[in-house]
Each structure stands twice: as structure tokens, then as C-alpha cells.
């Protein structure tokens, strides 16, 4: 039952209309950052206020919501946001990726392949991929308008010159439909291939930075690279999950003692738990 002290999904209707108009333009121009009038939310910036506003604008009472933080359903951020929407929208919640109609995520894409009709909402800290190369918004706007992404290629080249490879492991820039360069939010580059031609709708919300962008289903998303230094989606090399034994999932390194002991486990808790359950059944 929705808490009657709040409008459905917390935000007022005028705010939701503003968000919805921004979302439609974002879907119409894949990878382009649409400015929106971000609101104060009952959580601090950096805790997913952009994602929460996008989710609030999209939710219907019939939805089943899943919230993950770095792949986990049971961390503070995920639990807080999930209970927030249970309270203010009265929606059902789940931890199973396949059962969710809307998934809000911080910095991961679930291992279980998404299906058509699902909406994946990303929490984004810095939406502008060129921001650390050019601090002025007026300039990065012009760079996007002119499709002037040479600076980004130089940055990747400098990585190769210095480290022998493109050293960026997360928030790895992508090009959408051959036009806009986009920050995929700080997902590990292991997840980048999942952005490409996904049957699900992917929405990105940056609350502090007041930007919304989107990838419609079946949109071409290429990670930037060079012919002689092709993009490689990497993870902890030569390791399997210590709990479920998965070899193909993204792993977290967990320090277990003061003597250098460590283990690698799946970052996606639902994927890992499902595998353990299936193995014991």
C-alpha cells in the first residue's frame, strides 16, 4: 500500500511530466545528454538521486522493481532505494533479474541477459565523458555538436603510450549509433558489450549534474578503441567465483584476513545465489 502522505512515486505530477518529456527526447536522440531540472530527493547526491528520479517517472503500480548496487541486492544503497519505492509507489520488489520489469542499478549490468520489455535505470555520477578533458560545459557541448572526439582518442592513445594498453577499467567511453560519445556510468568495461543491441531499454539519470540520457533497445554501442589496440572486456584474470564457481561472471575481490588472504566472488549476488541453488537442487 502506498503511503498516503506521498503522491504516487514520491514526485509531484509537474516534476514527473518534466522528467517524462526529457526521457522521450533522450530516447529520440540516443547517447545525447538531455538537461533536466533535477529535484532534491530524500537522499544525498551521489546516492542515486538521478536514477531514483528516472525510476519514479517510469514506474507504474504493476511494476516489479529490482535495485542493485555494484551487482548486490543487499547493500545499503540498494536496500534503501528498494524500500523507498515500496513505501511511496507500493510496487512489488524482487531480487531475481528475470522477474523484474524495472531494474535500477549502480555501476553494474546484471549477468543474466535482459529481455525485451525490461527497463534498466543507471545511476550516473558524471554524465559527460569529456568532462575531465575539458571542464567547461559550453565547450563540451560544442565538441559533441561538432562530433569532435579527437581529444578522447588522444587520451586513450596516451594510455597506450604510457601503460601499453588502454588503462581505463570502468566508465569506459562508448560511441552510440556512430554519433554521440557517451559515458556508460562507472560500470566495469567487462559490462560494455552488454550495452550493445540490448533488447531492454536503458535509461541513465545523473541527479547532481541534471542530465538524462538513454539507449533505446537494439542500439549499436561500440567501445572506443584503435584497430591495433582493440577493446577487450576484462575481469580478474584466471579466477573463478569462490562460491558458485562461475568462470564467466564479473568478480569482486574480497580481503579475508590481515595476512594477504583474499577470495574472488561474483559481484552479481542474484546470479551467484541462483547458481548455488541450482547446483544443490
Amino acid at each position: 500500500m502506498t503511503d498516503q502522505a506521498y503522491n504516487f512515486a514520491y514526485l509531484d505530477e509537474a516534476t514527473k511530466r518534466m522528467l517524462r518529456r526529457a526521457l522521450l527526447k533522450a530516447v529520440a536522440i540516443p547517447g545525447y545528454q538531455v538537461p533536466f531540472s533535477s529535484r532534491e530527493m530524500p537522499m544525498p547526491y551521489g546516492w542515486g538521486t538521478g536514477g531514483v528520479q528516472v525510476t519514479a517517472a517510469c514506474l507504474v503500480p504493476e511494476d516489479t522493481l529490482k535495485v542493485i548496487d555494484q551487482g548486490a541486492d543487499d547493500t545499503t544503497n540498494a536496500v534503501s532505494i528498494r524500500s523507498f519505492f515500496e513505501k511511496v509507489a507500493g510496487v512489488a520488489t524482487t531480487e531475481a533479474t528475470a522477474e523484474a520489469s524495472v531494474i535500477q542499478t549502480r555501476h553494474r549490468i546484471p549477468e543474466t541477459p535482459l529481455h525485451a520489455g525490461q527497463i534498466l535505470v543507471f545511476q550516473v555520477p558524471i554524465p559527460e565523458p569529456l568532462r575531465f578533458l575539458e571542464p567547461r560545459e559550453t565547450e563540451t557541448r560544442v565538441m559533441h555538436a561538432l562530433e569532435d572526439y579527437g581529444l578522447m582518442q588522444v587520451r586513450l592513445y596516451e594510455d597506450i603510450a604510457r601503460h601499453g594498453e588502454i588503462a581505463r577499467a570502468y566508465a569506459y567511453p562508448v560511441k552510440v549509433e556512430g554519433r554521440y560519445v557517451m559515458d556508460p556510468s562507472p560500470i566495469p568495461k567487462f559490462d560494455n558489450p552488454k550495452l550493445n543491441m540490448s533488447p531492454a531499454l536503458q535509461l541513465f539519470g545523473a541527479g547532481r549534474e541534471c542530465r538524462i540520457y538513454a539507449l533505446p533497445p537494439f542500439t549499436r554501442v561500440e567501445s572506443l578503441d584503435f584497430e591495433d589496440y582493440p577493446f577487450t572486456p576484462s575481469k580478474a584474470a584466471g579466477q573463478d567465483c569462490a562460491i558458485c564457481g562461475a568462470s564467466g561472471s564479473y568478480l569482486d575481490e574480497v580481503i579475508t584476513d590481515d595476512a594477504g588472504g583474499r577470495m574472488f566472488v561474483c559481484s552479481d549476488t542474484d546470479y551467484c545465489a541462483t547458481r548455488v541453488q541450482e547446483a544443490s537442487a
Partner: protein, 187 residues
């Protein structure tokens, strides 16, 4: 104000459900969705009425074109949306038949640095069917088909990407969307 029709029964949840249908349509160009809900005075279709109630308000200048620029509909807009009525060049949304709306170039196309600042045209069509012009592009796995009014003009609009207009085609309770990214083939 005689005969003013009501808006949503449950504004928050009805608008939420309607938006999800419109979002679904915009994310899958050519997909025809059904928008149930209230009706506005003729000649406004039910789908156009629901779309406007969901998206338009006092912050979105609206252009009523041709037969849609009539007293009852103006009153309905004033009461339910509060949207300022303007000419094509200032409109965020425009409503009318394809012929009445006139050439797409009359509307705001966005600017190179802010390509989202373009109009969305709600085009009333006699019927919508999944036959006709072949559509490809983002949101479409292989190809879709949609009966669109003027493929040549829409091809011209798509060619201006990332500038250009986005379209919602409405007929009765049905709605289909055509964003500027969709490429139109033959037929």
C-alpha cells in the same frame, strides 16, 4: 466552457501508465500502442488527448493546427493543461493533421549544442497500421513497418539528425512514435 470533458480519473497512476505506453512506442518506433483514458473535444483523438494530459502543461507552449484550433479544444487546453497557445515557431508540442501542421521546417529543430530543444508533433492520422513504410534504426531489431503520412518529408527530417522533430502519430486510441533517428525505406 459548456460540455467540458473530464481529465484522468486517477491523475498520478493513469498518467504513469500512459507514459509507459508512450515511452514504449518511442523506444520501439513503429510499434502501435493503445492509450485508454479520457477524451477531449473533437476533433482531438483519445490517444492525442491522453498523450497531452501526460506530457503537456503550463511550461510547454502548444500549437493547435487547422481544425484542432477550435473553441471547445482551446477551452479544454486552458482548463486541463494551461499550455500557452502559440504559433509553430514557438511550440514544444503541436497537434493537428499532417496537412494542417504544415511543413516540418516551420517548427523548432533544436540547436547543434542542444538538439533536444525541438518540437514534438502529435499528428492525427485516419488510421494506423503496421504496413507501409519500412523503418530501421535504434529501437528496431530488424525492421518495422508503419503507415506514415509523408515519407519524403519524414526522410528529410531524419536526414537532419541530430536535429529534427519527433512525431507521435495518433488515431482513435492508438499511438505510434517516430523519433528523428528512424530511417525510412521504400513504400
Amino acid at each position: 466552457m459548456d460540455g467540458l470533458t473530464p481529465g484522468f480519473d486517477h491523475p498520478a497512476t493513469d498518467a504513469a501508465r500512459a507514459f509507459r505506453m508512450v515511452l514504449d512506442a518511442m523506444a520501439h518506433p513503429g510499434r502501435i500502442v493503445t492509450l485508454d483514458g479520457p477524451v477531449a473535444p473533437a476533433p482531438c483523438s483519445q490517444a492525442a488527448c491522453v498523450a497531452l494530459l501526460t506530457l503537456a502543461d503550463a511550461t510547454t507552449p502548444l500549437h493547435l493546427a487547422g481544425a484542432h484550433d477550435c473553441g471547445p479544444l482551446r477551452d479544454w487546453v486552458a482548463f486541463h493543461l494551461g499550455a500557452p497557445l502559440v504559433g509553430p515557431e514557438d511550440a514544444t508540442f503541436a497537434l493537428g493533421t499532417w496537412d494542417a501542421l504544415g511543413p516540418p521546417a516551420a517548427y523548432r529543430q533544436g540547436t547543434p549544442d542542444y538538439s533536444d530543444r525541438s518540437a514534438t508533433l502529435i499528428v492525427e492520422v485516419p488510421a494506423l497500421s503496421a504496413h507501409g513504410t519500412r523503418l530501421t534504426g535504434p529501437g528496431i531489431e530488424t525492421a518495422a513497418h508503419l503507415s506514415v503520412p509523408d515519407p519524403d518529408a519524414l526522410r528529410g527530417n531524419a536526414a537532419r539528425f541530430p536535429l529534427g522533430l519527433d512525431f507521435l502519430f495518433t488515431s482513435g486510441a492508438q499511438l505510434a512514435a517516430l523519433p528523428r533517428t528512424t530511417k525510412l525505406g521504400d513504400g
